[in-house]
């Protein structure tokens, strides 16, 4: 069952991601991105990371992707019009990306064969997932948590200042 779900999700993720980087209509691209992000959230659930999956849906699908669509609508005078989206680097880019992916894959193999990763018994985390993450965020990881909060605040203010129309 899990394998089946993984395969379906993997196919969806890869195809939708390819659509994001190849489609000619930027609006379609954005929709494909949303699909892709949803599927990644599914993957998280598959890996027992429910809290992260929820965060993924809320933040990525609900905020980032919608923000993208807003930006698209603000910048393209006709949202649906097809404009030239790709530059002349298509072939070299594709080649490099492929080399990169297979290089990474080779490294994974190599490291696993060399026993780089510690083996542990597969303990299935239970319902304590959200609770534990919440506790950890407020105790062990409180400093990065606060730093990230400040980063968010700064980004908020920065975005407002940058996007503000002059004279307002």
């Amino acid at each position: 069952m899990a394998d089946t779900v993984f395969v379906i999700l993997a196919i969806l993720i890869v195809s939708s991601a390819l659509a994001v980087v190849t489609l000619r209509n930027i609006f379609h691209c954005a929709l494909m991105l949303i699909l892709c992000l949803f599927c990644v959230a599914g993957l998280y659930i598959l890996m027992y990371a429910e809290f992260l999956a929820v965060v993924q849906v809320l933040l990525y699908v609900g905020a980032v992707a919608i923000l993208m669509i807003f930006a698209i609508m603000l910048t393209s005078r006709l949202a649906g019009r097809e404009i030239q989206l790709s530059n002349e680097q298509t072939f070299i880019g594709g080649f490099l990306a492929t080399v990169f992916v297979f290089g990474l894959g080779y490294l994974y193999y190599k490291d696993i064969e060399a026993g780089q990763f510690a083996r542990v018994s597969l303990k299935i985390p239970g319902a304590e997932n959200s609770l534990s993450i919440g506790k950890l965020l407020m105790t062990e990881y409180v400093l990065p948590f606060e730093v990230v909060s400040i980063l968010l605040l700064a980004a908020l203010i920065g975005a407002i200042i940058l996007a503000r129309k002059e004279g307002n």
Partner: protein, 676 residues
């Protein structure tokens, strides 16, 4: 240190000197724009000082037990080393007390007189500030308790004298005269300073008492004392305008006449006499030094009197008369150091200081009278005056009294002091003869001056017409001084006790003047002869002056031109100095400047060479680098397209390179090599 008497005024006598200093400061800093107030402050200060001086004199007389007054000295150290104590303090001895009275009296009269004389002058307040400053310096000089301090005040009076001679500095002759006075007296001051240095080197102290104690002990070789004495006398020669440094005093008459009366007749020029009197133990210890003093005084008195015979400028006649009289005093003081069996020890000292006092009064009176005349007729030339008696009765009568006093007619002040001096010359035939001759000449030129100015027919109608008697502020001081010119001599008259015995005593010898009838008769006869000759020549006109002049034309010309001393100095000192200056200038302009210009030319040429090298070789190298970089960067700049896609491509290349390195273990090998 002698301390026998204590009294309020003796302990605080230094305030007499400080009061004028304070008034001077107040005038300069606060009341310069309020002229009557300035004058009031100055006069108040000096009159207070005058009253205090009289009080001091009374205390001194009271404390003169048995004819010998113990010095009052108050001092504190300003510089104190193991072997050297430099003191700031004052000492009151009889001669200082006498000088205090002289200075404050004349100064008061002059300041009151100046109210009228300087009225309307644009620098009225400054004039009073200078007068006060001078009075302070002079009183400080009188009160100083050591040679070092006296030197400080000595220079201060020189400075104020310079300021006052050149007071009307718009007039070139006045500012030149100021400079001349300053520089000429500096020549003497150099000797004084040298004397002080030698004194400190050989005796080791500046203090009067200590110096004189050392002198009396006989431990110092006589030749050293002679050297010191002559050096210090150099200062006196400069300040008291003795030959050969007398040339500044006649020119100093360019200053306001009251200033001439105060500084260049009564007080400052007397400072030299005062210094010699103060240093008298040095001269009694060294006969050579005393002889130098005496001969210089003798020569000056005759020399100046002869010039005074023919001068036509009223103030210059008085100036040369001052020279002559100062020479008298110096001579008397010098004779004090040469023992003579004919006179009591101390006679010369008493005569010199006594004449210092009487002369101050009648000479101040003469100058103030001359000032009054000048004020009335606006000229100094006696040939343009005449017949002024009718217009200026007060001035003329006081002037007449002064003339009688200086001529030495009984019972005026000069009679007693001049006789005293001639008594002091007894035993020295040359001195006695010349001194008597000078007395005759003095009487002659003073009455020549009087007759030409006040009697006969007016020679300049217009000036005569405008002449008028001076205001009361000028005539009252004249009258006051006339009283002193009449009466001051009685203090030192033979047989009068109580004053002169103590004031003019020297070395423990109570001064008891005695009447030498031969001297009295001879000097009176000579004075009367002088007056009579002047009467015949300038009043009765029975002997024509022109005829006399014709007969002794060369001598007349010589005298009229003051023995050409100024010209001589000009020829042997000033012109050579100028020539040396011009020579040095041309040396500087040609040789030194030439060298500098040569160096500049060489530098210029070298810099041309360097310029070429710089331009072609150094700049060529730099430009070569620049061109190379320009060309190279032209190739590399194309990499900087500014396009995001190109940059990202480069990043990805780098990432792939890292992956390749990692997968081939080259990364680990490299990290191990560099020690990571």
């Amino acid at each position: 240190m002698h301390e026998t008497a204590h009294s309020f005024i003796l302990d605080n006598a230094y305030w007499i000197a400080l009061l004028p200093l304070i008034s001077s400061a107040i005038i300069l800093f606060f009341t310069r724009w309020r002229e009557p107030l300035s004058a009031g402050i100055s006069i108040t200060a000096i009159v207070l000082g005058w009253v205090a001086s009289i009080w001091v004199m009374i205390e001194v007389l009271i404390n003169s037990h048995g004819g010998h007054f113990q010095y009052i000295e108050r001092a504190f150290d300003i510089v104190s080393f193991e072997t050297m104590h430099l003191q700031l303090g004052f000492v009151i001895d009889p001669v200082a007390a006498m000088m205090l009275i002289v200075v404050t009296t004349v100064s008061s009269c002059v300041q009151i007189y100046s109210l009228g004389y300087m009225h309307g002058d644009p620098r009225f307040s400054r004039y009073y500030a200078y007068l006060s400053l001078f009075t302070f310096s002079m009183l400080g000089l009188v009160l100083a308790n050591n040679f070092f301090l006296i030197f400080i005040f000595w220079e201060l009076v020189g400075l104020t004298s310079y300021l006052l001679i050149g007071f009307w500095f718009e007039k070139k002759s006045a500012s030149d005269a100021g400079k001349k006075a300053f520089i000429t007296t500096k020549v003497g001051d150099l000797g004084f300073l040298l004397g002080l240095m030698l004194m400190f080197a050989w005796i080791g102290t500046f203090d009067y008492d200590e110096v004189f104690a050392a002198v009396k002990s006989g431990q110092i070789e006589t030749w050293k004392l002679t050297t010191i004495g002559i050096c210090i006398f150099c200062g006196a020669v400069g300040k008291s305008a003795q030959f050969p440094l007398h040339v500044w005093l006649p020119d100093a008459m360019e200053g306001p006449t009251p200033v001439s009366a105060l500084i260049h007749a009564a007080t400052m020029v007397a400072a030299g006499v005062y210094l010699v009197a103060k240093a008298m133990p040095l001269y009694t210890a060294s006969t050579t030094a005393a002889a130098v003093v005496a001969y210089i005084g003798l020569f000056t008195s005759f020399f100046a009197a002869s010039i005074a015979l023919v001068q036509n400028d009223i103030k210059r006649v008085l100036a040369f008369s001052t020279l002559s009289q100062l020479g008298y005093m110096i001579m008397a003081l010098g004779l004090n150091g040469i023992l003579s069996e004919h006179v009591e020890p101390g006679t010369g000292y008493a005569a010199g200081t006594f004449h210092l006092m009487t002369h101050a009064f009648f000479k101040a009176l003469l100058f103030l009278g001359a000032g009054s005349v000048i004020h009335a007729v606006h000229t100094n030339d006696i040939q343009l005056m005449g017949g002024l008696y009718g217009k200026m009765k007060k001035t003329a009568s006081t002037f007449f009294i002064a003339c009688l006093a200086i001529a030495g007619i009984f019972p005026f002040a000069g009679f007693f002091s001049k006789d005293e001096i001639i008594v002091a010359t007894m035993g020295h035939p040359v001195f006695q003869t010349v001194a008597s001759l000078v007395a005759f000449m003095t009487a002659f030129y003073m009455f020549r001056l009087y007759f030409l100015t006040f009697t006969g027919e007016p020679r300049d109608e217009e000036k005569y017409h405008h002449a008028h008697e001076s205001p009361n502020s000028m005539t009252y001081p004249l009258m006051f001084l006339a009283v002193l010119a009449f009466g001051a001599g009685w203090f030192g008259a033979p047989g009068v006790k109580g004053f002169s015995n103590y004031i003019f005593e020297y070395g423990g010898h109570a001064h008891t003047p005695s009447a030498h009838w031969s001297v009295i008769i001879i000097s009176t006869v000579l004075a009367l002869c002088g007056i009579g000759l002047a009467y015949l020549m300038y009043y009765k006109k029975s002997i024509s002056p022109d005829t006399v002049v014709e007969k002794v034309k060369p001598i007349y010309t010589l005298l009229y031109n003051k023995y050409y001393i100024d010209e001589l100095y000009d020829f042997i000192l000033i012109q050579p100095t100028y020539r040396l200056g011009r020579f040095l200038w041309s040396f500087d302009a040609n040789v030194v400047d030439g060298l500098v210009n040569l160096q500049a030319t060489i530098t210029y040429w070298l810099s041309d060479v360097k310029h070429w090298i710089d331009k072609n070789i150094v700049d060529g190298t730099v430009n070569g680098f620049g061109l190379f970089c320009d060309a190279a960067s032209g190739a590399f700049r194309k990499m900087q397209s500014g396009r995001l896609a190109h940059y990202l491509l480069a990043v990805v290349f780098g990432m792939i390179l890292i992956i390749l390195l990692a997968s081939s273990n080259l990364l680990n090998w490299t990290l191990a090599k560099v020690g990571l």
